[in-house]
Structure formats: structure tokens, C-alpha cells
Amino acid sequence: MIEPLIILGSLGLLFGAGLYIASRVFHVSVDPRLERIESALPGANCGACGLAGCAGFARAIVHGSAEVVGCIPGGEAVSHLIADIMGVKAKEVDKQVAVLHCAGRDVADRFHYVGMKSCNAAALFQGGPKSCLYGCIRFGDCALACPFGAISMIDGFPVVDEGKCTACGKCVDACPKDLYDLRSLKKLVHVACRSRETGKATRSVCEVGCIACKKCETVCPFDAVHVSDNLAVIDYDKCTSCGKCVSECPTNTIRNFREERKAKGLWPVKVRHEKNV
């Protein structure tokens, strides 16, 4: 009766000692910050930071190869948590959202398209079935690509829910017509058109397309809007979202997002105080 207890007991002691020695000899020091950063991140593994998932981003921060504000979906809150963990000062985070540069809901088809219901596939064939070669094809590749459910097809046209949008940039990648841009939530005025056709050609296919009349260029007090290649383009370094061009635009191509964002409680953007650590 006593023998098995002695044998098992001594075996236990032996292995215990072996494990103890092994843990000392092969010890790998793990930065405790790594785990804390990982738990602070959203864990969506969306890849918007440009690294392999949240774990990869955490490693990059600890190594100093990524900025603490790099997590786009996490935004301000996460940046601060990480900044606290790393003991550095977080730079101001500018919340961005995806902006769709097309409003051509009523653009007709040039031909009857039969085939895969995908914008990317349709665009390969003569630029897609829509009369406007620069506009939305309306099969919703962007809505499919959005991991946060922020883009929905309403009456067959994509609409961005800016409350849900985290500016991960998947829609920018997915759109074959390059209709999305990531813009600061503070910027309220946007051109809802990408057509580089002449005014006449654009007008013939779309009611709300940019006709390159240059009224916006004339009215802008900050020299922020310029018509180049038949399209009004806003320089956001200069734009103050005053909205003068919006009321001047004869085709309602330039739009003001102020009211819409106000209604959703997204504007005015809350000002955050810089934190010293």
C-alpha cells in the first residue's frame, strides 16, 4: 500500500522539478503591455490598420512600428487606452467616415445587363450598364464589403450610416468606380459626383451630376473648390464647410451634410482634450 504512494509521489516531485528547471531555462519574457493592448482593442480583426489583425497591431505598437492612434474602428477611446498603457501622449484623433461621391439614383441603363450581380464583374464589361460611366452601378459591392453594416442598399442605392462607419476603407477598395473617400466627420460639404465628362454629356444622363459650371469656384471665399477635368473638387485643407457653394450649385451636386449629421447627433463633433501622461 505504501509503495505506490512513494513511487507516484517521487515521480511527481521529479517531474515538478523538471518543469521548474525548464521554465527557468527556456523562459521567454512577454511584454505585459502586449496583453493589455490586445484586450483594449475591439477585436474585430478588420485589418484597417494595415496589419494582420488586432494581435499584429498590438505587437507593432509594442515594437514601436505603429502609431497608438492606428486603430481606426476603435477611434479616440481605444487610442487613449493604448496611449495610457504605452505611457505616451495620444495625438488628436480625427474621426473619419466614408463619403459616397455619386447621387445618380435615376441614371438609366445603356444596355440590359445579364450576368453576375456584382459591380466589379459588371464594370469589366464596357464600364458597366449605367449610362454614366463614372457613377454607381448599384449592385452593392460596397454594402457586401462593409464589415460593420454601415452601408445599406436603400431603393437599390448605397447609403452610408455615418454613425456605424469606422472608416476602415473596405468600401473604398471594393468600389470599381472609386466612388468612396474617407473624410473627416468635421468636413460637411461634399461633391456627390465623379463624372469627368463634359457638362453637356453629364447633364444628358444625370440630373444631379457636376456640369462643371464653375459657380462654386467663383463663390468660394477660401479658394477651396476648383473645377478640373470637368469636375468640382474640394481642397479640404482650405474648406471651412461654410456652405456657400452648396446654395450656389445649380444641379445640387455639392451637398451639405450638416443637418443630416445634426439629426443623428454626429455633429457638432465633440472636442476632446489632449491628455498628458
Binding site: R110, V114, M116, S118, N120, F125, Q126
Partner: protein, 445 residues
Amino acid sequence: MRRTFKKGGVHPPDMKERTRDVPIAEFPAPALVMIPMAQHFGSPALPVVGAGDKVAKGQLIGKADGRMSANVHSSVSGKVLRLEEKFTPQGRACKTVVIENDNSGIWADEIPCGRDWRAMSPKEIVEAVAAGGVVGMGGAAFPAHVKLEPPHEKPIDTAILNGVECEPYLTIDHRLMVERAAEIITGLRIIAKAVAAKEMVVGIESNKPEALKAMNAAAAGGGIRVEALDVKYPQGGEKQLIAALTGREVPPGKLPFDVGCVVHNVGTAWAIFNAVAKCVPLIERPLTISGDAIERPANLMVPIGTPVGAVIEHCGLDQKVKKILSGGPMMGMAIADPTIPVVKGMSGILALKKVPHDISGPCIRCGRCIEVCPLGGIASEMARAIEAGAIVDYEHLHVFDCMECGSCSFVCPAGRNLVQYVRQAKEEASYRRELHRKQQAKKQI
């Protein structure tokens, strides 16, 4: 003994009766031609004329940009009106030279000429073919001079002419073989000389007895074998034709060069003959205009750059037309705009009253697409991968080996647009590849 390739294949109704016996007629050059710079596989040609320039018939208007490109010549004499971005039948936009025809028909200097190709060296032949802007006329529009210059480490023993014409409706290769057999056979001899091939074979499907007779007569006593092949689609595919004629299999990702073969279409051989023996560049191409919505089906010799609408008008269009195709019904592309020009790689124009319903349902796992794929591909899985956005799978599934013959879409009982899925997978995979390459480069910095 008749032969065919072993793996896969389908038997679509051949629909060739209406144009089989119609001789090739000249199509009068239109008032305006629009000549795209990208009519071939590879980089687009660079335009060498500007608005207002006078051009003569056969004059160089686009210069090949590198080796994998082809010269482009004016198909009429007249004045360049403008250069514009325009869609080609392949579905992409490129620079297009618009020329107003002055109807004088004046040729450029030194065209046509009389040259003895027998006195020319292989290098001179390749140069003449490149100068003439000859590209593959079977559909892929691969620059012909590239196929005439095999790499040194890959000797060629067999030069093959492709007279299969397995696409339904099309009869233009058939008519060319019947009417211009001697020129085609000379073209084959020129090809064989350029690549130093000992053996010369012509593959023709047995549903073209007249072509077989004419080609046999023209090739008599010259060491050329004219083979009758069993009818099966897609026998006109390069790899399938090599398998049918020589029993050799071209491995995935390899070229006919790798098994000692070079394959040219009979139309290409005819164009090579013109470019080498007569200095005439590729400025017109034979076309079949057919389909149930065409009132007077025809085989026509059409100047490159002629709007498709003008050709259809010439043959009479039924108002009940539903779809217009460039090429055959299996591999052809739909044409959405009648001003799209005729290009070097276009083998026919079809106008159809009936089009398949867009039923595209879910895959029912019947496996027919796998049975008929001549390359042993798994179209159903490729489609599923693209639907799921499974980028990793594309290369694993060998999407780049697909030649888009359409056999899978043809047999799919669920009406799935399988070829389009694969085309999309190719696009996606090359985009990801490029992205990956850029990221790697960034990491190294």
C-alpha cells in the same frame, strides 16, 4: 482515322448552314473608321498620327509598344479627325484614331510589293510579320510575331494550322480555306520556315468537307498533312488542337512552345502571307455575319475600324433582335453600342432574336461543368470561391488556366454565369497579387 481531344468538350448545334456556301464579298469602306490602338493581347500601340494628319491606306498609325504589342495601320486613305477614348468589343476603353475616308483608296508607299519569301531569313520574316501588325485572328489576338520567335531552348518540330472553327455560326475560316487555300498553305510554309519546324499539319473538323478538299488540293505533294478531326467543341483551342493532332498535352501554365508546337489560325496564316509576300499589313478582316435576326447572312471582308452597326445594316437587321455578339455564341462578347468598331480579333458578328433567360440559380452540385471542362478545371468551385470572396482559393483552383471556352456555362442546368465568375476571379486574383507585391516591397523598405 478521325481523332479529337480526349478530355471534356461539348456538342453545341453548329448553325453554319446559312453562311456555309456564301462566298466572301468585299464590304465597301465606310465614310468614317475608328481604329482602336488596343486590338491585341499585350500593351496598346502608341498613336503616331494626330488630328488633321493625312493618312494613306496601309500607313502606320500606331506603333507597337514593346515586343508584346502590335502595329496598327490605317484601313482607308483620308484625314485623321480626332483621337478619342472608346470601348473595344473586348469591353475595355482605349485610344482610338478616327479617320474620315476620302474614298480615293490610295495605298501608302511600297504597298503592295512583290517579295520572294523563300529568299528571306527567319529573322526577316518575323520582322515583316511584326511590321504588318499581324495578330492571331482566331479570337485571342495574340501578336503573331511573338509566336514566330520561339525561345532558343525550346525547339519547334511541328507547325500547326488551326482550321477547326468549332464555334457555332461562324464560317469565315471555312470560306477562307475554300477560296484562298493556296495563300493559306503558303502562309503555313512561311510560318514553318520562321520557326524551323519540320512537320506541317492542318487540323480541320470533318463537318467542312469542301475546305478539306480545297486544302488537300493546295497542299498536295508538299509534305503537309491535312487532318480531318471529329467535331467537338472547343477543338479550336490551342491546347485541344495540339492534343488532337499530336497526342501531346500542354501542361497547365505552359505554352505550345513547351511541347515543340506552334499553332496559328488559318486566318492568321493568310494575314502572314499578305504581310510577308505582299507587304500588305492587316487592315481588313474576314467576318461572318449571321444569326436569326440577320436578314441576309454573309461572309464579308471588312476594313478594320468599320462600325459594327454599319456592317449589320448592310446585311439587314430584324427589329426583333435581342442581342448582338462579337465572335461566336460560346466565347463572343455582347455588343452594347453600334459604333463599336470591327477589330483584328473579331471573327464574326451575330444578331440573335432569342437569348437565354437570366435564371442563374444556386449550384445543384451535378458536376456537369467538371465533366465537360477540357482543361480539367472545377468551375463550380471557382464560382463558389468568388461568391464567398475566398481569395486564397483562386490560385489553388487554377483559375488562370481557364481559357473561358464557355463549355461549363453551356451545360449548367442552373444557368450559372460560370465563365463570368472565373473572369472575375482572375481579375480579383491579379489585383490581390499586385497588392501583395506592393506590400512586400513596402516591408523591405
